[in-house]
């Protein structure tokens, strides 16, 4: 931790003789708006933030080190616990890395199931973000509406893999369970329902004058800063860079579907809000097509050796998680356990810009900015 922050500046006004002092305020790790066990030490002058130091690591579990002593299949449940709001993408990135190393062929039906699960999870993740973000801004209702609709997705996942959050659904070479009968129809129903519901969300929140005034021009940064800080996902797209790995480096079967990559140029909290809402829409669009084209039969597990031993060497794959670019690096020595495994976690990388964004901001903007970055602490600390 940077110790300069601990020295506060005392000033005496020459005109009035009033003594003013900067104050250190500890926000978190137990704080309602830090979205988990995240801690911020802010130096404030009145309500203006002079300096902010994020302190993380309260949820560090050493996933990457643990993985070195686990077989590849055993690592999958650990990835569930990283970005627990969107565990399907984490499942995928690991399986994708191993499959790339081994050059495995994935059956069609498994590809579809993976894609549907990931996109549903993206919708669920953005819903959580929408609800908690509004909760930070001070509106309580949206949180519960978002969670109602997310509940439907979780129920779908529950039917698919028997878990609501920590799915452990994907395997190297395919998926563990096939969709139960009628599941696809239920998912279709949900997509149609969600399309209408999204409209209600917009009517309740998007046009609200108070809400708009809270967000416009807040937490602004430009493309260069975004690239310098290695931001990805919505954080990057909000500055006008059209970069979405689903489009630019298609993985799974994303290249078969039509969808847009929404971008904005403002780079502020409002732009990020609009982008995430637009992404829900695009995800629903992908889902609609995927559910329509879903193959009626087929295997869900490819031909995989009983013991998974990727050939010696290294590989790095990256995919688009709801939070940005999630990457998985594996260094293998040809054994059934990775020699070294590393995740590039978008929450962690995106969070680095926080101290810069907070400088000079009002204390109330702090929660809005932190909320708009959309972090999941399980992923930040890994």
């Amino acid at each position: 931790m940077n110790h300069n922050i601990l020295t506060t500046h005392v000033d005496t006004s020459s005109e009035t003789g009033l003594r003013t002092e900067e104050m250190l305020l500890n926000v978190g790790p137990q704080h309602p708006s830090t979205h988990g066990v995240f801690r911020l030490v802010v130096k404030i002058d009145g309500e203006t933030i002079k300096e902010a130091i994020p302190v993380m690591g309260y949820l560090h579990r050493g996933t990457e080190k643990l993985a070195e002593n686990l077989t590849y299949t055993q690592i999958i449940p650990y990835t569930d616990r990283m970005d627990y709001v969107s565990a399907m993408t984490n499942n995928y990135v690991l399986c994708h890395a191993v499959e790339t190393m081994m050059g495995l062929e994935i059956p069609e039906r498994a590809q579809f199931l993976r894609l549907i699960a990931m996109e549903l999870n993206r919708v669920a993740s953005h819903l959580v973000w929408w609800g908690t973000f509004l909760l930070d801004i001070g509106a309580m209702g949206p949180f519960l509406y978002a969670f109602r609709d997310r509940e439907t997705i979780l129920d779908l996942f529950n039917e698919l893999c028997g878990a609501r959050m920590t799915f452990n659904y994907m395997r190297v070479g395919g998926v563990k369970w096939d969709a139960p009968p009628g599941w696809i129809d239920k998912a279709k129903e949900f997509v149609q329902y969600m399309k209408k519901e999204l409209n209600n969300y917009h009517q309740l929140v998007t046009g609200n004058e108070i809400f708009i005034n809270r967000l416009i021009g807040i937490g602004k940064f430009d493309t260069k800063t975004a690239l310098d800080y290695s931001l990805s996902g919505v954080m990057l797209r909000s500055t006008g860079v059209k970069w979405d790995l689903r489009k630019d480096e298609p993985y799974c079967i994303y290249d078969r579907f039509e969808f847009d990559v929404p971008t904005a140029t403002e780079g502020d909290c409002m732009a990020r809000y609009h982008l995430r809402m637009a992404e829900i829409e695009q995800s629903l669009r992908i889902l609609e097509q995927a559910l329509e084209q879903f193959p009626s039969e087929g295997e869900v597990m490819g031909k995989v050796p009983r013991v998974i031993r990727p050939p010696a060497g290294e590989t790095y794959v990256r995919i688009e998680s709801p939070r940005g670019e999630i990457g998985c690096y594996i260094a293998s020595q040809g054994k059934d356990k990775p020699w070294r495994l590393k995740f590039r976690r978008p929450s962690f990388t995106n969070l680095q810009i926080l101290p810069k964004l907070l400088q000079g901001e009002n204390l109330s903007n702090m929660v809005a900015i932190l909320g708009s970055i959309d972090i999941v602490l399980g992923e930040v600390d890994c």
Partner: protein
């Protein structure tokens, strides 16, 4: 009550006063108990929840249980808190909340003090509460509560100005600050019609005075955890909560009196329904509106809050005074 006030003081009249005051206290506490229950129920329904339904039939005893819990809790005072001020703050916040109710005419016959300056009395006394809030924020020796207390002070003082200005129009129209006279003057048409601008300013400023959404910055739990009462627990905390809800009661009654014709019926032909029923009806609509807003709105930012009070509400309120003054002088044949 008024005849009692005119009589020479004796043991009998004193007893009456005490009985009446205790009665009012009971009514207000009853209101607070069920306003909280109702709020939780209504917001629960609006947010797809059920709300309290466990304690007593339909959860009707939930608030009673909550109050009992608060009363039975250990009285905690932070080690480095300012002892005297920490104890004084809840009383400072709470006492004026009750005192303002003395001038409220709930109906033709149910009223306590009939002050000539009833409106001024309400405004003056309700201003004291902010002292309690700052004191609480300061005395707790907690950074969050300090920020909350100062925010609150800035907010309540700023919004008191447009609040007072917005009712000047009514005083001009009525020619009296007596709340009973103000109601009587609305026999033909309620003040909400000629004083619509004043009403709009008043209802917004009242929301800020009450520290309720979207002006609930002093206790913005997502930023300040709990605001000025973050260190308070048990009965001292209950006093703050009580003050908040009693103010809601007071503000609801005041709005009913000032803008909705108090106990007067919607139409003279409906005169057979007792005035108190009308009063409660109008009052309940306001209280419901409070809950509704709370379930819907996000929160303003502190700088927007201030600029809104001084740059928007105050000019509008001043304009309203000017407009009313011109109209009233025209009616009196001054032009």
């Amino acid at each position: 009550m008024n005849t009692l006030l005119q009589q020479a003081p004796s043991w009998g009249t004193t007893l009456w006063f005490i009985v009446a005051a205790v009665l009012l206290l009971a009514v207000v506490l009853g209101f607070v108990t069920y306003a909280i229950y109702f709020e939780r129920k209504v917001i629960g329904w609006m947010q797809l929840r059920i709300g309290p339904n466990r304690v007593g039939p339909l959860g009707l005893l939930q608030t009673v249980a909550d109050v009992a819990k608060l009363l039975l809790k250990e009285d905690i005072r932070p080690q480095h808190a300012d002892k005297a001020l920490f104890t004084l703050a809840p009383i400072l916040a709470y006492a004026p909340a009750f005192a303002v109710l003395a001038v409220m005419p709930f109906s033709d016959s149910i009223r306590f003090a009939d002050l000539g300056i009833g409106l001024l009395y309400y405004i003056a006394l309700s201003g004291i509460t902010v002292l309690g809030v700052i004191t609480a924020g300061w005395a707790s020796n907690n950074k969050y509560s300090l920020i909350g207390g100062l925010r609150s002070a800035a907010q309540m003082i700023s919004y008191e100005v447009p609040l007072v200005m917005s009712v000047v129009g009514i005083v001009l129209l009525t020619g009296s600050m007596n709340l009973k006279d103000i109601v009587e003057a609305q026999r033909d048409v309620w003040n909400i019609v000629p004083q619509f601008i004043g009403f709009a300013v008043f209802i917004i400023a009242a929301q800020a005075e009450l520290n309720r959404t979207p002006f609930d910055l002093p206790e913005a739990e997502s930023e300040l955890v709990g605001g000025y009462h973050v260190e308070y627990s048990g009965f001292r905390f209950a006093m703050f909560m009580l003050a908040e809800y009693v103010y809601m009661f007071g503000m609801g009654a005041l709005i009913t009196i000032l803008f909705f014709g108090g106990w007067l019926p919607i139409h003279p032909s409906l005169d057979f329904i007792p005035g108190i029923v009308w009063f409660i009806l109008k009052f309940s609509i306001y209280v419901f509106l409070q809950f509704w807003i709370r379930a819907t709105m996000p929160r303003l930012r502190v700088d927007q809050l201030m600029s809104f009070a001084w740059k928007v509400l105050l000019p509008v309120a001043l304009f309203n005074i000017l407009l009313t003054a011109v109209v009233v002088s025209y009616q009196n044949g001054m032009f």
